[in-house]
Each structure stands twice: as structure tokens, then as C-alpha cells.
Amino acid sequence: MRYAFRDEDRDREVELTPLGEGRWRVVVNGAESEVAAEALGEGRFRLTDAEGEAIAEVTTAGDRRFVRLDTLEFVIDRQTRARRRGAGAGGGLEAPMPGVVTRVLVAPGETVKRGQPLMALEAMKMEHVIRAPADGTIKSVRAAAGQLVAGGVPLVEME
């Protein structure tokens, strides 16, 4: 099984093959290894690899994965095919953070210049302006003023 993740702007992939009795064959970045995983309940498991043992704790929040390894915390995003398609083809502009849309400055069909403000979003007293990454045409506007949106939600589509 292949699992694709997004780590900052990096695509990362892990391939797992069950070997039975809690053992797995792992391929990451072309390198093959073997690990053991023992479920401890409540979302915790003991991970044993060449480095030794670690207690892992993984929480799923939508596509996001919160990963705790002993006392270290990491956040990565699970990539699904739909998500990758959207990002590749649509030129969608996503909400950088959860917030309230305060202003919608463009309408579908409108041509915009690179850097032009398209939409403003407010969260916790901070305003964030979504700008056109390049010259183009607005294909669709996916949120209205006053609407509450989650982080990562597509707000404007350009082509």
C-alpha cells in the first residue's frame, strides 16, 4: 500500500507491505527497511525500527495528520487523488487559515493581473488578502462575504 503525504511543499511517499505479526516492510525514498508496530490503544502504538523504539500517536483531522513520536510533534497532510487533481489543474486559491470572508473583490469572468487582491479573509483580528498568483481569468468564486471557511478550502478558481 502506498501512502502519499504533503510536508510543506514536498511530496513524500511511504510504501507499506504487511509481513504479519505486527511486522511491516517499508519503502521510503527508494530505501527498504523493516519495522514493527504494536497497537497500545487510544491511538497509540509502539514503533520499533533500526533507530530503536518510539511511542507513536497519530490523530486524524480531515486530511491533516498530527504525529507525535515520543515527545516530538509533527504535522503533515495526507494527500488524496482528488486533492492532487484539484491543486494541479484548477489553479485554485485556498484559504491560508480558517476565518471569515470579509470582502470578495472579483467576479467570475473577470480578468485579473498578478498580485491583484481577490478576496480578504479575517481571523483573530488579522486580515489576510488572497492575491492572484499570475495574470488570468476568474473561473469561479467559491465563497461569499460573511461566510466562515475552514483552512485549505478553495476560495477562488483561476485559469
Binding site: 501512502y3 511491516w24 517499508v26 504525529v67 482528488a82
Partner: protein
């Protein structure tokens, strides 16, 4: 004593105030916005009144709605906490006009201290040093003033604010040049070329003194807190006592703070903020007329409950303790946990805190505004909790803080926990070699590089294993199934989390 008090706030400070009211056998009334229904601060209070829509303006800043809630609940006093209406003189006045007690200073003091120039004048009149400054005058006058206070100096429009057109001059030539351009700027921006000259302190520390006054001229000091670890003027880690002042400076700071509190007959708890220059000279900055976010470090070293003292002073008009009763022992240090992404410009975060686990160390206190399953709304200040460690020495307290941060786990909402962990272990923090600009000048770039470096393969493998092993190995609360293929990103706001009936806690 009051039998019922309304808490005009939310989050961790509302929970903190409710805890003391419970100890004092005073019934607590929480207020909440529609976005905060069922929030922890409403669950720990005895009663709750919904006061309006999510936006602060319509709820936590809505004076009429809060007074109406107090009247309906038959509360006798209002504790404003910090932020929101805590330093709003009109609110303090409206509370008093409604026949209720405002747990804080008089409206006049809230107003005077909120006006920087008035506060500066009051401090000067009490003999408290302020940052040397000179107003108006011609170029030669300003040059003479700069020479008297010593370079570098800062030049700004006398009528301006917010740092617009502010210029730094390191010598007379630079100053003469700056006067000309700043004067032109001031004239075009504010219609007045008058300039204000202020000594620029290089690498200052921020040290503040906690005071209590009875409103009739008596005031005492609960000593100082060191709050130099800041990012964009937002405090991150605070401690008491300050490792940056010696006993003589400590006494002098307390005496200055008491002098100002007595001079104005200050009532209740207040904090005087000072800038301390590397040589030890200190200057009054401003006075905060409310409970501070960082009050727990003072409580840890003095053993006093500041909220209880606020309530007692408000109820009786007397100081329940004398200066001789205040003794500082050991060391306490606090870290502020925020829902913000420290690796990416500290963007505020919201969502559901699916998993929350606090440290279990007996020498660590956690003032939290959330529990597992609670929603972190987008509308308010993103503070989630404060983690406060104490020890016999600073080193011990700091070790405990580092361990406590390691034990802390919040999943579901991105927090600044990695930033706090890195700070607690930084060499300069351990050696107490920092000033108010140190985080941004020397720490942040390195932290950001580490925080955005590739996630170790082990973490990726753990995430993949959690998927492969299914629910037994991963805590999932979204119910979207393991794949979630083609599903839209779940709208965290569509699920408000648990709902509870008011008062049924």
C-alpha cells in the same frame, strides 16, 4: 462579600476566575457568544448567559448585553478579566452606573492610564522615571535635548502615533537630517511639523511590577515579572523573579511602582511596565489596569491568589494583606500556548482540539481554556492555555517547564508548542541573556528553518502505519473514513462539538 459575580470574558482567564469564585463560595455567571456555546468557560461556571453572535463587537464587547445578563442573573459585581472590556473606562463607568461593582480600578484610573501622555505625566509627577523625551522646539533645541539624553534617539511626529514616520538617529548629523525629513513628513501627514524626541533604548528588557491598592492611598508591591521574551510585542514566556535585575534594582522598581499607585490612590490589581536598559536604568512605560495574562508566576512565588485579592478589595475597599505579608520564594516561569502556526508566520489557527493532554508534574500548573473535543473558534485571541512551572531555583523551574512542554499534547489544532519547546531549551534563555528583540533578532530564523525542514521519515512511517493499522492505531474523530477520497475538506465550523445545557455541569 458578594454572593454572585459575572465574568465578562471567555477562555482560560474566565475559567481561572471561576475557580477562585468557587473557592470563595461565590456563584459565578459566565457569558458566552453563540460561537462559544458549550465552551469550557461556560461548563465551569454555575450559570451561563448567551449574550450575542460570534463577533466580539456583538458579544464580549457588547456593554448593554453584558449589563443585561448581569441584571438577569442578579450578579452584584463584574470581573472583566483581561482584553475585551477590561480597560474600557466607559464600561467600568456603565457597570457602576448600573449599581454593580466593577472588580478593578475606578473608571478615572482606567481612562488616565489608557492615555499614554496622561500616564507619563502622572508617573513623572510621582517621581517615577520615564523614557527621556523632549517635545517641540526648533532644530537647535532638539539637538541640544538629544545631546543631553545621549544618542541614539528616536524622532517622531508629536501628533502621530503607531510609529508612523519614526526615525532613529545615532549622531548629530543624522539627527539634523532626520529633523528636516521627519518635520516634512509630520506636516504632510498630521498638518503639524512639531516633532517628539525620545531616547532609544538599545536591547532593553521588559520588567513589570504587580501592585495592589486600596483606592484610598495605600498600595503594596507583589514584586516583578520578567517579560522580555516577546515576539512583536506579544509576550511568550514570563517569569518571576526577573533574572535581569539585582536586589537593589528590584527594590527600586517596587518603590517606583508603589509611589505611582499611591500618588493616584489606585484601587485593585495593576501592573506597571518598565523598560530596563542594559546598565540597569529603568523607565516607566505604561500601567495596565487589570489582571495580566502572566499573573500566575506572581501567584506561584508569593503563594497569593490575585483574583481573590481583586475580589476582596472590590468588596471591602481594603487591602487584605500588608507589604510585610508578601514574600517571594523560589522561581516560577510561564509559557503561553497559542493556536498559531509558529513555523509559518504565526498564522492564527482554529478547529477542534481532538486530543488534549496536559503535564502531570506536581510543580506545574496549567490554566487552560479548552479540553479534548472543544472547538477553537476563529473569532477571538488564540490563547489556549498557560503552562506554569515552579522550582526552588530558576534552573529547576526552567527544567520543569521544558519537561512539562514535552508532556503536553494538543492534536487537531496547530499550536505554537514546538516554538515554546525550542525556547525553553535555548542556551540564551537558560542563561537569561535576552532582551525584548532577541527572539526576532536571533532566534526566529533558526527556529523557522528547523520547523519547516523535512519531517523525519520515521514520522511519515508512523502516519502511514496509523492508516494501515486502522482505528486501533489512530485517533480519528472526523468519521470521514480512512481514505476520505474525493471528500471535501471537512468544515470544522459545521460541527460545533458537544452541546451542554447551561448549569448542568
Amino acid at each position: 462579600m458578594f454572593s454572585k459575580v459575572l465574568i465578562a470574558n471567555r477562555g482560560e482567564i474566565a475559567c481561572r476566575i471561576a475557580a477562585t469564585l468557587r473557592e470563595m463560595a461565590i456563584r459565578s455567571v459566565a457569558v458566552c457568544s453563540e460561537a462559544d456555546r458549550g465552551a469550557l468557560h461556560t461548563r465551569v461556571a454555575d450559570e451561563v448567559v448567551t449574550i450575542g453572535p460570534a463577533e466580539s463587537r456583538a458579544s464580549y464587547l457588547n456593554v448593554a448585553a453584558i449589563l443585561e445578563a448581569a441584571k438577569r442573573a442578579k450578579a452584584e459585581a463584574i470581573h472583566p478579566g483581561y482584553g475585551f472590556l477590561a480597560e474600557n473606562a466607559a464600561f467600568a463607568e456603565a457597570v457602576e452606573n448600573a449599581g454593580l461593582v466593577f472588580i478593578g480600578p475606578s473608571p478615572e484610573h482606567v481612562r488616565a492610564m489608557g492615555d499614554k501622555r496622561a500616564a507619563r505625566a502622572l508617573a513623572e509627577s510621582a517621581g517615577v522615571p520615564v523614557v527621556p523625551g523632549a517635545e517641540g522646539g526648533d532644530t537647535d533645541g532638539l539637538v541640544r535635548a538629544a545631546k543631553a539624553m545621549g544618542y541614539p534617539v528616536m524622532l517622531k511626529a508629536a501628533l502621530g502615533g503607531g510609529g508612523k514616520g519614526m526615525q532613529v538617529a545615532h549622531d548629530e548629523a543624522q539627527l539634523r537630517e532626520a529633523i528636516e525629513s521627519a518635520g516634512r513628513l509630520a506636516l504632510s501627514a498630521f498638518g503639524d511639523a512639531a516633532l517628539y524626541l525620545e531616547k532609544r533604548l538599545e536591547r532593553p528588557r521588559h520588567v513589570e511590577v504587580q501592585v495592589l491598592g486600596d483606592g484610598r492611598g495605600e498600595a503594596i508591591s507583589l514584586f516583578e515579572r520578567e517579560c522580555s521574551l516577546q515576539r512583536r510585542h506579544q509576550k511568550v514566556i514570563e517569569e518571576s523573579p526577573s533574572p535581569g535585575v539585582d536586589d537593589a534594582a528590584r527594590r527600586a522598581l517596587s518603590q517606583a511602582a508603589i509611589a505611582l499607585a499611591r500618588r493616584v490612590s489606585y484601587r485593585g490589581a495593576g501592573t506597571l511596565e518598565f523598560l530596563v536598559a542594559p546598565g540597569g536604568a529603568f523607565y516607566f512605560l505604561e500601567m495596565n489596569t487589570r489582571i495580566q495574562v502572566e499573573h500566575p508566576v506572581t501567584e506561584r512565588v508569593t503563594g497569593l491568589d490575585l483574583v481573590r485579592l481583586q475580589v476582596e478589595i472590590a468588596a471591602t475597599g481594603e487591602l487584605p494583606i500588608a507589604q510585610a505579608d508578601v514574600v517571594s520564594r523560589g522561581h516560577a516561569i510561564e509559557a503561553r500556548l497559542y493556536a498559531e502556526d509558529a513555523a509559518h508566520g504565526f498564522l492564527p489557527q482554529a478547529g477542534t482540539a481532538l486530543k488534549v493532554r496536559w503535564p502531570r508534574d506536581p510543580f506545574v500548573r496549567v490554566d487552560a481554556g479548552i479540553e479534548a473535543g472543544d472547538t477553537v473558534p476563529v473569532h477571538y485571541d488564540p490563547i489556549l492555555a498557560k503552562i506554569i512551572a515552579q522550582g526552588a531555583t530558576r534552573e529547576e523551574a526552567l527544567d520543569r517547564l521544558a519537561t512539562a512542554l514535552d508532556e503536553t499534547c494538543v492534536h487537531g489544532v496547530i499550536t505554537n508548542l514546538p516554538f515554546l519547546k525550542a525556547l525553553a531549551r535555548a542556551g540564551e534563555v537558560r542563561a537569561a541573556r535576552f532582551d525584548t528583540e532577541w527572539i526576532e533578532r536571533e532566534f526566529l530564523a533558526g527556529f523557522t528553518a528547523v520547523a519547516t525542514a523535512p519531517v523525519p521519515e520515521r514520522a511519515l512511517i508512523a502516519a502511514a502505519l496509523a492508516e494501515a493499522m486502522g482505528p486501533a492505531a489512530s485517533a480519528s474523530v472526523d468519521g470521514a473514513g480512512p481514505e476520505g477520497e474525493g471528500e471535501p475538506v471537512p468544515d470544522v465550523f459545521a460541527t460545533v462539538g458537544r452541546w451542554r445545557l447551561p448549569g448542568l455541569e
